[in-house]
């Protein structure tokens, strides 16, 4: 509950402050957001299955973001940044869908 509130606060602060990301962050920010969304959906699923753990969430969130950014960074250095960005988005997209399906089964029992 407070988590949703925190998310809303972050969104509100972003809207109000109207920040612009530094340009070196541009390739990584969307990837990091997708990775973080995966962690959030995983956490939501765990909460519904009554196995949510704060530490696991924090570690998975941070490691997801860092690994995703690292993969894209290495990809950029190798000249395949675009393809690896796509790969990261596809992988996290699949995981988000899987978690969303689990959440749906929990909530609607279907």
């Amino acid at each position: 509950m407070i988590g949703a509130l925190a998310l809303a606060v972050g969104l509100a602060v972003g809207v109000v402050l109207n920040p612009t990301a530094p340009s070196w962050l541009d390739p990584y920010l969307p990837i990091a957001v997708v990775a973080a969304l995966d962690a959030v959906f995983g956490g939501l699923r765990a909460a519904l299955e009554k196995v949510f753990d704060d530490k696991v969430f924090v570690v998975s969130f941070i490691s997801n973001v860092l690994v995703a950014a690292l993969v894209v960074f290495i990809g950029d250095k190798l000249g395949v940044g675009g393809q690896l960005s796509t790969a990261v988005v596809v992988v996290f997209g699949i995981r988000i869908f899987a978690n969303a399906a689990a959440i749906r089964r929990q909530v609607f029992k279907a």
């Binding site: 988590g3 949703a4 509100a12 920040p19």
Partner: protein, 227 residues
């Protein structure tokens, strides 16, 4: 801290450090979402473009810039020349040379210069307006500045038709074989345009009794004018 905790109980109890970290991370995520949404919509997608695409875009812009710069230079030069001359003589000369160029294009004056002469002999009456139109178009594409067929000046509005009774009518003037086309322009380019495979010479050669030839005299005189 317990490894597994019920969220309801966790919310009621005084929040642990890990729980606070969860909230902070969620707030950061919300912030990050707005930032990345704004970054994506703001810079027209350029910031997300890959280096290869950016290099291509930059090259295009460079080329465009150079072209515009050279155009600006030549216009500036013209302006300076027009401004700098104390009398209107320069402007008059400029206008006169432009009028001359336009007159040649419009066909109201004669012209002479390097060029080619194409002769199409057609004893069998097999060469019609289509061949002549093809030849005229090829010559125009190859950069012919002035054209004459027989004694008729060819300009933008010239019509070529097959009249009844054979021959070819150019702008209403009835012409019979051999057809003589004069073109002023780069002689080599014009001759190449006639000789390309499948071009005018090939087409004429495929018709019975028709022969076409290209000559490159040192000086081509176009004397026919339009009223």
């Amino acid at each position: 801290m317990r490894a597994v905790r019920r969220p309801e109980l966790g919310s009621l109890r005084r929040p642990g450090r890990a729980r606070v970290a969860v909230w902070v991370l969620l707030a950061v995520l919300g912030f990050g979402i707005t930032v990345s949404v704004r970054a994506h919509s703001g810079a027209a997608g350029l910031s997300n473009a890959r280096p290869d695409d950016l290099v291509g875009i930059l090259d295009d812009l460079d080329a465009k810039g150079r072209r515009l710069q050279s155009e600006a230079d030549s216009l500036q030069e013209t302006r300076d020349r027009l401004n700098g001359s104390d009398s209107g003589a320069e402007a008059l000369a400029e206008a006169r040379s432009r009028a001359e160029g336009l007159a040649i294009l419009a066909g109201t004056v004669g012209a002479q210069g390097p060029g080619i002469e194409v002769t199409i002999d057609d004893s069998g009456g097999r060469v019609g307006a289509d061949v002549l139109v093809d030849a005229i178009q090829e010559l125009r594409d190859a950069g012919a500045e002035a054209l004459q067929v027989g004694a008729v000046r060819v300009v933008a509005s010239t019509a070529v038709v097959d009249p009844t009774g054979g021959g070819i009518a150019v702008d209403g003037h009835h012409l019979g074989p051999p057809y003589r086309i004069l073109a002023i322009g780069d002689a080599h380019t014009l001759a190449q345009a006639m000789q390309i495979p499948g071009g005018v010479l090939d087409t004429v050669a495929s018709r019975d009794g028709a022969v076409a030839s290209v000559a490159t005299p040192a000086l081509v005189r176009i004397t026919a004018v339009r009223p």
